[in-house]
């Protein structure tokens, strides 16, 4: 947060998140304790997931060891989906109810979603290079993920470019809602492209409506990975929410001090 933004903030109406006047020491201690418990659980889950990915799950018959990327690739995609769903829900609730905390939900979630979409976009090519013999194709799933990444990165840029005000939060909510509604349209249009016809079916569809095309050990490994990443999301999201709350509190205090002078 640059000094410029903060000083602008003090001039505009500084938002206040809740009725709480002060994020007291007891409150902070309770938050840290619950985060420690959650963090411990996440760490255990991630270690178990790592063990299962590398030692428990059998190697894939044709692809070999590189296929083990799959578990974290899918889990990252899952986490990103959860994150963007929270951005959408938070934005919708903010416009509907007008309570600032819903905007903070979206704010805290968007960055996590972009980060894990990045991980999806990096692990994908790493796997594709030996298997498809190319880093990237304009296959529907790849293209849609890329557009998704661009839209939410644009959302973060939009947030960064605005001076703080309630109007900013309304405008960002509107953009988040439009972006979310756009995702299925992007997918349909990309799937219909002529070039996409060539690549159709290239991306493995492991889980479809009627069957899961995996060994039981692999399914279990995938489920544990997704669970571990869900815990990781909860952990990160709560930290980011907290950072937002502390920042809002600092802005509020600063404004009060300015008014007193």
């Amino acid at each position: 947060m640059s000094v410029e933004v903060e000083s602008r903030m003090t001039q505009e109406a500084a938002p206040r998140v809740s009725g709480r006047d002060f994020l007291g020491a007891g409150e902070t201690r309770r938050f840290l304790r619950s985060q420690a418990v959650l963090g411990g659980l996440t760490a255990v889950a991630l270690i178990v997931a790592l063990y299962m990915v590398f030692l428990y799950a059998p190697p894939e018959r044709e692809m070999g060891e590189i296929q083990r990327l799959f578990y974290f690739h899918v889990a990252s995609g899952w986490l990103a989906m959860v994150a963007f769903l929270v951005v959408f829900a938070g934005s919708l609730m903010f416009l509907w109810r007008g309570r600032l905390k819903y905007d903070r939900w979206a704010e805290a979630s968007a960055g996590i979603g972009v980060l894990f979409t990045t991980i999806v976009l990096v692990t994908g090519p790493l796997w594709a290079r030996p298997i498809w013999n190319t880093w990237w194709t304009w296959e529907p799933r790849l293209t849609s993920s890329l557009v998704l990444w661009i839209m939410y990165a644009a959302y973060l840029l939009l947030r960064g470019n605005f001076p703080e005000s309630r109007k900013k939060y309304q405008i960002c909510s509107v953009y988040a809602i439009i972006a979310f509604l756009d995702v299925p349209l992007v997918f349909f249009s990309v799937r219909r492209m002529r070039d996409a016809e060539v690549y159709r079916g290239l991306h493995p569809v492991v889980i479809s409506a009627n069957k899961i095309d995996l060994e039981p050990e692999m399914i279990l490994t995938l489920i544990v990975s997704c669970l571990a990443f869900t815990l990781l999301y909860a952990l990160l999201w709560r930290f980011r929410l907290r950072v937002g709350m502390v920042r809002d509190e600092i802005w509020r205090i600063r404004r009060v001090l300015m008014e007193r002078e």
């Binding site: 939009l158 470019n161 309304q170 756009d182 992007v186």
Partner: protein
């Protein structure tokens, strides 16, 4: 009710058109920019090569949409600078009406620009419209509706930002990816003269996009322009 909304919206659009007609400055700049893009692409490729003819629909839409962005980014400048936006907000009407009015005037600027640029494009690229004018007109109107609807909303979002002119394309282009894809493919089919079921499915996709985003944009417009309480 519906006629009242449309009457108000047309009056707002008429105000924009009259103002633009008196100065013409903005429109001419946008028009010239589209012209330059068309010319520059001819140098970027080997002039007259088969590659450029194959890319013609893409080049056409890049020119139209880039020029359209310039048009959109100045859509609310007068309102902002002269404090006219506050006046509009005080007027006893739904916020959605302001959106529809702006949408109509932007749409007219966009269509007029395209109407003037398109003959130049046909001449420079040696294109024949084998698929018929009516199909092409339909594609153009459907693409512009989606582009201008979302663009007008985003233009209102970025009023008064220092980085407005960079931010608008950054926000707008990813969202209109479906429109770009469908528009370019449909235009290609019309140029080749094969408006079959393939064209129909692209038109359906464009129509769906337009329907969703015109309604959503009009509905959420008030959150974008209202001073928050």
């Amino acid at each position: 009710m519906m006629t009242r909304i449309l009457e108000l919206a047309f009056r707002l659009a008429w105000k924009d058109l009259r103002m633009e007609f008196r100065s013409r400055q903005n429109f001419l700049t946008v028009l010239f920019f589209a012209f330059i893009v068309i010319v520059i692409f001819n140098f970027a490729f080997e002039p007259g090569s088969p590659a450029i003819r194959e890319s013609a629909p893409a080049i056409l839409w890049v020119a139209f949409l880039f020029a359209g962005i310039l048009n959109l980014s100045s859509a609310f400048i007068v309102e902002k600078e002269e404090g006219c936006l506050l006046g509009l907000l005080l007027a006893p009407m739904e916020r959605g009406v302001i959106f529809i009015g702006k949408f109509l005037s932007n749409m007219m600027f966009q269509l007029l620009m395209e109407l003037l640029i398109f003959p130049v494009f046909l001449v420079f690229f040696n294109i024949e419209l084998r698929g018929g004018w009516l199909w092409f007109l339909l594609v153009v109107i459907l693409v512009n509706t989606g582009f201008v609807a979302v663009g007008t909303l985003f233009s209102a979002m970025t009023i008064g930002l220092k980085t407005r002119e960079v931010l608008l394309p950054i926000l707008l282009f990813p969202v209109i990816v479906p429109v770009i894809i469908a528009g370019v493919r449909a235009t290609g089919l019309v140029f080749q003269g094969s408006p079959g079921s393939d064209l129909g499915s692209w038109l359906k996709l464009l129509g769906g996009f337009d329907l969703v985003f015109v309604v959503v944009s009009a509905a959420v417009f008030r959150f974008v322009v209202e001073e928050a309480s």
